[in-house]
Amino acid sequence: MNLRDDEAVLEEARLERQTFEGAQELQPRPRTKELVITGGGMWPEDSLDDTMIINMGPQHPSTHGVLRLMMELDSEEVLRVKPVIGYLHTGMEKTGEELTYVQGGTNVTRMDYAAPLSNELVYSMAVERLLDVDVPPRATWMRMMLVELNRMSSHLLFQATNGMDIGAVSMMLYGWREREEVLRFLEYVTGLRMNHNFIRPGGVAADLPDGWQSRALELCDTVERGAREYEELLSQNPIWRERTVGIGIISTDECLARSITGPILRSTGFAWDLRKAQPYLAYDDVDFDVVYGMTGDVFDRYSLRLSEIFESIKIVRQCVERMPAGDYRLQDKKLTPPPRARIDESMEALIHHFKLFTEGFKVPAGETYVAIESPRGEIGCYLVSDGSGKPVRMHIRGPSFYNLQSIEPMGTGSLVADAVAIVSSVDPIMGEVDR
């Protein structure tokens, strides 16, 4: 074949791919299995009729939002599965290019809506790295405490929805009960239950309110009591074990090859946690363990997330004990707003306040990638600046987006009912997948 023909064929294939409607659909595949009917059986007459392609979602109660799974089924067995995403796409990365660095936090916090503080943290750390500034110790410890509380609330949400997906509906109520307590505390500190925009470039938005220590410790006790209850309710429950043990197994190598991070990777027995491996904030100053599983099945992922709640409680208790005094943000007039009281008495403070919230601040040209451990895995922020007040590119590496690639190896060969358990154990947050 000469080169020209080759190019023409390639071009044709490319055009067809780009113009083909429904390019994401699961395509029929060539049949390899010829059905041989022995004896005088009545079925099946048509060998092409033995499998069917069905949609699960995007409006399905167990798909955690608007995830659509295309599955090829041979009666109850899943032969192929393919996630189709994009139903919640709102162009947040494009929006991020239109917002100043001060406003950017309100945008990123809406991506992973179950763990908004992780998003704010990774974005703020990326901006701070481009600016080459360090935040004061109190801000660092406050960030760490809030992110760990958020990890607790995210894992409690997982326990609730995972329980309901697999059939332990009472878990739904219990999980929500404790999560509500965590959100109440976050509201007490940040002013909002979700989408806080509390962690900002340069520190955090406000200091901790008076009497937070006792409330935080009380919260730790409540969540600990609740998590022990879940453990009693589920871990030894024969029905629960029947539904989860040995289901949806994935190996470490497969996880690494498919860029899967977080609890799914750890459940395979690979103890990789960015909080330990590449410590940020003050994680090398606190005492906690990296929890990892053994087999990489649905049960391991459930029990791993449950254990991580206890580890987070440990970190929060240490934060309460060792919270340093001092400033909760940088006192840089060009970067953080002046205290409210200063605006009444100082013209300069008023101008700084006005400039900061209308124009924001300028960031020197450069590019950086910052990664932290969110409840779902490695969340990263790739930020490119051209020296102006708005980023050229603000890309968030959402762990759920990559973790969805694990559904294919885990779901192939499973039963339909187990596919629900598998999707649930991946714990995808569609806001972050689609951004």
Binding site: R17, A23, E93, T368, D386, R397, Y402, L404, Q405
Partner: protein, 193 residues
Amino acid sequence: MADDEAREDEHETAPEPVAPDDLPKPDDDVAAALVERFAGSVFDRSHGQPVVYVDRAVFADVARFLHDEQQFTMCVDITATDHLLDGVRYAPPGVATERYEVVANFLSHVRNRRVRVICAVPDSDPSVPSLTGVYPGANFPERETYDFFGIEFVGHPELTRILMPDDWEGHPLRKDYPAARVPVTFKGDPHPR
């Protein structure tokens, strides 16, 4: 589109020739190995992180090298940047700049380190070799980059749109694709899109 072309002409400036000896020496052994193996690569330390700018023709070979010989177990992230409208463009000396940059972050769990590989992609032929042959996890991010920037990953098994609808026109994260280009369709609109 004449407007865009004019802007592109303005944008393309010939890089100042830099003698190879003047380039910064890599102080990171992975980056040093990369620069040694792939001629024409440029090392940069960007806010403490090792970055290597490579030619796009060897993009997949670089990934293969990192995976097979340098124990880089995971391709963490692939994305792109459109530098069409940059005010001050950040580029280390010796790097030939083009409109797009494809950025890949690699992570080695064994050696606990990261390296970022960037290659310039011109507007006239937006394509790079796909990394899916080396890292199957590059599947989704490459589809996303194709969807948003229209950069073709040659060798990708199924390069279709992933987040935008299949019949969408244009690539939304390009800088010549303005936000709010498509008017919002409200319920009861006599002329729905």
